[in-house]
């Protein structure tokens, strides 16, 4: 721990203060940290004076740490000793061509050319379509069969490819191969002019537009001389983040009900979800809050009349949500499908570092709003959880608890009034040179983090985005083990992870 620099959420650090360790020491520190109950927030590669470096942001309890090293082209993988590093090392291999030796699951993450122009770790030249050289895990045996699904799925959802290794109806293993949504977001964030960035950030994962915009805005505010958001801006940001959570959680409960063929709650929650999107229209002019959050504040104050509309609507829908939940969670046909389905044990969840709803449903009480509060999220008591057995039922119930919690937050924030004026942010000036910042926010799926490194001219040299889905897709694969393949849609919906947030 002595070699790690304590850093704070959304606070700028000069790059020269981040300790640069010898690789072997870096590896030992990270492994000790992860084995001792610490988690990985970010672990990524970046170029500095034509050399490949790695930077890790770690968390334990309510403290963040940063540490760096020069990364050799081949290095003994950390994943071979601790699973928490699994996808991070694959990502570094794909983005920068550094090979983690003895990595047990070394496969492409998104299928694209590496940024360094060195030999591809996976032997791809990218003239072929995705997935290129990708060896799917296979179970062999006379009664084993394989089911492939996607990239284009049956519903109106994002693309991804799933492979099930089954014996009869039972899934022995699910492999999730993504990358179809890759748009090169991180490269765009370092090459586009500043005026384009907020719009790109809103599109990283549109259902998480508020959390991504807030994470971006906080990072830019920490790095630049633009004024801090005023109280109206902080309140509206927090409210918008909770409205985004409400819309998604309510929609998910409806979709879970639909997936077990219980249609009334699916219809009611489907409509109620829209009420929250319409509240975001009142706040921002857009159903997903786009255009509202910019570095320096928010672009629209909330008039007293509109604030009253929001509060009245929250008060109107709360009893409806409770009544529909009573219908959903007491229907025996629903419970027989929800209970004991898709369990991820607390031990497994900790091994892979699950975050957010899925993590809390497995008994990991980590909520970035509590441990790393931003804006006004620290003013509220944590959401209590009573059902944390790690299955579909727990993931549904955690959502319900969070819905009630967020309804209270929005009502308190907006009903306090005084939101009818704000300082409209002006365009961003160049950020501080040679600086580093990390931001962490609790998006509706879990911990979302943005990291920025600036160069000597104050340009963004490296922009790293980590969506909570980056941790949690592995959780879905674990949940499916020894479950019936017919329970896949239900389990998938109970995680409801982001494809584009993962693929970037």
């Amino acid at each position: 721990m002595a070699n790690l620099l304590p850093v704070f959420n959304g606070r700028m650090v000069p790059r020269k203060e981040i300790p640069v360790l010898d690789f072997n020491l870096f590896r030992k520190e990270l492994l000790n940290f992860a084995a001792d109950g610490g988690y990985i927030v970010q672990f990524f590669g970046f170029m500095e004076e034509d050399a490949l470096k790695a930077l890790a942001v770690l968390r334990k309890a309510d403290q963040l740490y940063a540490v760096s090293c020069a990364l050799p082209d081949e290095y003994p993988s950390l994943t071979s000793e601790n699973g928490k590093f699994h996808l991070f090392e694959r990502e570094i291999a794909e983005q920068f061509g550094a090979r983690p030796l003895h990595h047990p699951w070394l496969k492409p993450v998104r299928y694209h050319v590496n940024q360094r122009g060195v030999e591809d770790v996976f032997g791809n030249n990218y003239s072929e379509d995705i997935p290129g050289n990708y060896e799917y895990f296979r179970v062999e045996g006379e009664q084993i069969h394989e089911v492939g699904v996607g990239p284009v799925h049956a519903g109106i959802i994002e693309p991804g490819h799933f492979r099930f290794q089954c014996i009869g109806e039972i899934v022995l293993h699910l492999e999730i191969q993504l990358g179809y949504q890759h748009r090169g977001v991180e490269k765009l964030l370092t090459s586009f002019p500043f005026k384009r960035l907020p719009v790109v950030v809103e599109g990283i994962a549109g259902d998480t537009a508020m959390a991504n915009s807030i994470s971006y805005a906080q990072a830019i505010e920490a790095l630049s001389l633009c004024h801090d958001p005023d109280n109206t801006a902080r309140t509206l940001r927090t409210a918008a983040l909770e409205l985004e959570r409400l819309a998604c959680h309510v929609g998910d409960l409806g979709a879970l009900s639909g997936d077990v063929a219980f249609n009334p709650p699916a219809a009611y929650y489907g409509r109620l979800r829209g009420e929250f999107l319409n509240l975001l229209v009142i706040l921002s002019g857009n159903r997903f809050g786009r255009g509202l959050i910019r570095p320096g504040g928010v672009t629209m104050p909330l008039s007293e009349k509109n604030a009253d509309l929001v509060v009245a609507k929250i008060r109107e829908v709360r009893p409806e949500i409770i009544q529909v939940a009573d219908l959903l969670f007491t229907a025996h046909t629903v419970l027989s499908r929800f209970e004991a389905c898709g369990r991820v044990s607390r031990e497994t969840a900790m091994d892979i570092g699950l975050v957010g709803v899925a993590g809390r449903a497995s008994g990991i009480n980590y909520d970035a709003r509590v441990d790393f509060p931003t804006e006004r999220s620290g003013e509220f008591a944590p959401c209590p959880h009573i059902r944390q057995k790690g299955g579909v039922y727990s993931r549904a119930w955690v959502r319900y608890e969070e819905i009630l919690h967020s309804l209270d937050q929005v009502e308190k924030l907006i009903s306090a009034g005084n939101l009818d004026s704000t300082i409209i942010p002006s365009p961003v000036q160049h950020p501080a040179p040679n600086a580093f910042v990390v931001t962490v926010n609790e998006a509706w799926r879990g911990e979302l983090s943005h990291c920025i490194l600036t160069d000597e001219q104050g340009r963004i040299a490296r922009y790293k985005v980590k969506d909570p889905s980056f941790h949690n897709w592995t959780g879905l694969a674990m949940a499916l083990r020894n479950e019936q393949i017919s329970d896949f849609p239900l389990n998938n919906k109970s995680f409801n992870l982001s494809y584009c947030g993962f693929d970037l």
Binding site: I130, P159, D207, P264, R271, R287, R290, M300, Q323, C500
Partner: protein
């Protein structure tokens, strides 16, 4: 059973009277822009320079609705004296030339392809392909199946198999990694077939325009109906489909 009935009574009948009755969206909503063509040229130039999507032509006072993400920056900068956003949600066009917008959109019903009305006016089955869409266009298309919009009452359905479909409904900027899957899906739809492009990404690349990881949809397929927005309001999508296929 009693719970089912009591919830049903509370929830009631929620389907929108649209299109029989006019719907008014909240005044904050940013729909079709109105352009003051007599505004100060310096102001127009300032709005164009600040536009994150470079969607404004300050000389001719035009907005490229394919690029515009309706973020509202131009309205804020000009305090409404150059561009202001109205709550009119009807934005669909059949001719890409109409996306370059001077404040007037021609009536979609009149210039949409007549043979599609005959073919699909009473029954339209669509296969949605999300090609690197950020899940906003997808979500606001999905929402058409909820009771408020109740898309099926118009004879329009989203189906699972391209073999059952009359066309593809594309969202997203089309990543390199989705190009083949999109073209395969299109090829699997029996002819005659329609192509609908929804959202700024599908129309122009949207926020991701200029990325080397995307392939513009308009270079891959001939698009019949363009629906602007980021994302388009569900009513924008619905109204465009009703005008294009039915009116």
């Amino acid at each position: 059973m009693l719970k089912l009935i009591s919830t049903r009574i509370v929830q009631g009948y929620r389907t929108s009277p649209y299109p029989k009755k006019v719907i008014h969206l909240h005044s904050s909503y940013r729909g079709r822009p109105s352009i003051n063509r007599d505004c100060d040229p310096d102001l127009a130039a300032r709005c164009a320079a600040a536009c994150p999507q470079d969607a404004i032509d300050p000389e001719k006072r035009l907005i490229d609705l394919g690029r515009c993400v309706f973020c509202g920056l131009c309205e804020r900068l000009s305090q409404g004296s150059f561009i202001s956003f109205t709550t009119n949600f009807e934005l669909g066009v059949a001719d890409p030339a109409h996306l370059v917008y001077d404040g007037n959109l021609p009536e979609l019903a009149a210039h949409s392809k007549q043979h599609f009305k005959k073919l699909f006016g009473r029954s339209l089955q669509l296969r949605e392909v999300s090609a690197a869409g950020c899940n906003c266009c997808e979500a606001d298309t999905n929402v058409l199946n909820t009771p408020f919009f109740d898309l099926s009452r118009f004879g329009i359905d989203f189906v699972a198999s391209p073999r059952h479909a009359d066309g593809v409904f594309v969202t997203g900027p089309v990543s390199r990694n989705m190009k083949t899957a999109l073209l395969d899906t299109y090829a699997a739809v029996p002819s005659p077939k329609v192509v609908i492009a929804t959202g700024s990404c599908a129309l122009s690349g949207g926020p991701f325009r200029d990325s080397t990881e995307i392939v513009p949809l308009t270079e891959l397929l001939e698009v019949d109906l363009f629906i602007p927005g980021c994302p388009p309001h569900p009513l924008t999508i619905l109204s465009a489909m009703l005008r294009f296929f039915k009116d």
